[in-house]
Amino acid sequence: MLQRYSLLSLFKNGLTGNENWQPTWRSVEPKKSYDVVIVGAGGHGLATAYYLARNHGITNVAIVDKGWIGGGNTGRNTSAIRSNYFYREATDFFERSLQLYEGLGEELNYNIMLSQIGVMTLAHSEHEMEGIRRWANAIQINGVDSEFLDLEQIRKELPILNTSVNARYPVVGGFVQRRGGVARHDAIAWGYARRADELGADIIEQCEVTNLLQHGGRVTGVETSKGKINAGQVVLAVAGHSSHLAAMADIKLPITSMALQAMVSEPLKPFLNTMTVSSVCHAYVSQSDRGELVIGGSADICNSYAQRGGMPVVEENIRALVELYPCLSRLKLMRQWAGIVDITPDTCPVIGALPMSGLYINGGWGTGGFKAIPAGGETTAYTVAHDSPHPLVEAFSLERFRSGELVNEAAASGVAH
């Protein structure tokens, strides 16, 4: 029986020196065979396992990962959550994800530290403001909250933002999605892992997939560093390495892997009460619960699997930050890192069946996979359980690149990439 987390359990375990907590998930060796093997124990893989069990009763599931839980992009993002997309297909999907996030802490009995601090997108010229009006209107038409802000409102809400008319990129207005925000990225992985484990899924870390086994045009399992594991169905939830895994089944994808960097500063007292995004200055920034500023920007310029980025992008991000908040010019950075992201031509994900029976993909998340975790898991689980795409991800099939029905969301990613 799973130990429930509560104020009472915290108190009781505190009294006994915190030595009686149960492990959050089991450490297991792989069985010979599973109904479903999920490759990648990041947010999307773990969420897929959880929803397979909870929504579809499929519990004979293994999640294998070459590293550890949430050690890839789930632990390397800026934890931004928003659903302010432009096209209905993307808006519906990401809005579903945001709604799931809003109830996730309670559902998982795990504090995901969701802070709906709002995401404020800034415009730096009248022309950009026109574009932002069109964007924010589209969001409202799609039934999601968004609010225009004129310069006076922005000055009132964010007095420390550089709104001087003499700024190199003067702010003229913007819009905000108040329900957007941030969550604790590790907690998403751990919370889903804990519940998926409780419902029967085996989480197998340090288990690298080296080949996809196939027979008669159907995937039959995976070859791993811990031996062969047979599977009825296999899900690739390895964004960043999607092409690398798919190539094991001779499948080419419309994906390029690139490094996306982020960085955090030394902690400061709370002073920034929203996430600000500037496409022109090319940065987004929020303040974490620990007081650190979390800063992200554009991807590095070329193909990479290196999980580290170059200094030119760091410099660009910092320049943008100081342009927006001149008061931060003497701030020290503590850490800087990169994750490898799947970039697709239309910056929308690829979810669904691959051209091999029994093989599915959850990838192509570009620079925005974190916010998609709950809906990504839910729809991937549905797609696997029914062997037919969930209505929310029909538009995100691999087939769209052949039929030409791309969902060109490039305009609505937070900053240009």
Binding site: I301, N303, G310, I343, P345, F401, R402
Partner: protein, 97 residues
């Protein structure tokens, strides 16, 4: 900072360059190429983890396209070649910037 040895201008910082992505060849016979061939050319990539050939342009210099053999894991460059007629063709249109 990656440094790239432009075949015409010499070693410069990566900021002077644009990367055009992995080398892909245009359909040889555009007028008769099938939709599938165009789709492969436009969207589908090998996206190799390891050594591959890609195209770069010295955007802030001579503006010439050239070929680079670069490892996508450790970023080491093993060869840089001028684009020669007949060897292959440079991508046209947009560059991933």
């Amino acid at each position: 900072m990656q440094q790239i040895d432009c075949p015409w201008c010499g070693v410069r910082d990566e900021q002077e360059f644009s990367c055009g992505g992995e080398l892909v060849s245009r359909p040889r016979d555009p007028a008769n190429a099938s939709d599938a061939e165009w789709t492969d050319y436009l969207y589908f990539r090998q996206n190799i983890k390891g050594l591959h050939t890609e195209v770069w342009r010295h955007t802030a210099g001579c503006r010439m396209w050239f070929l680079v053999d670069r490892d996508t894991v450790n970023h080491s460059i093993t060869a840089i070649r001028k684009l020669q007629p007949g060897v292959t063709s440079a991508p046209e249109g947009e560059v991933n910037e």
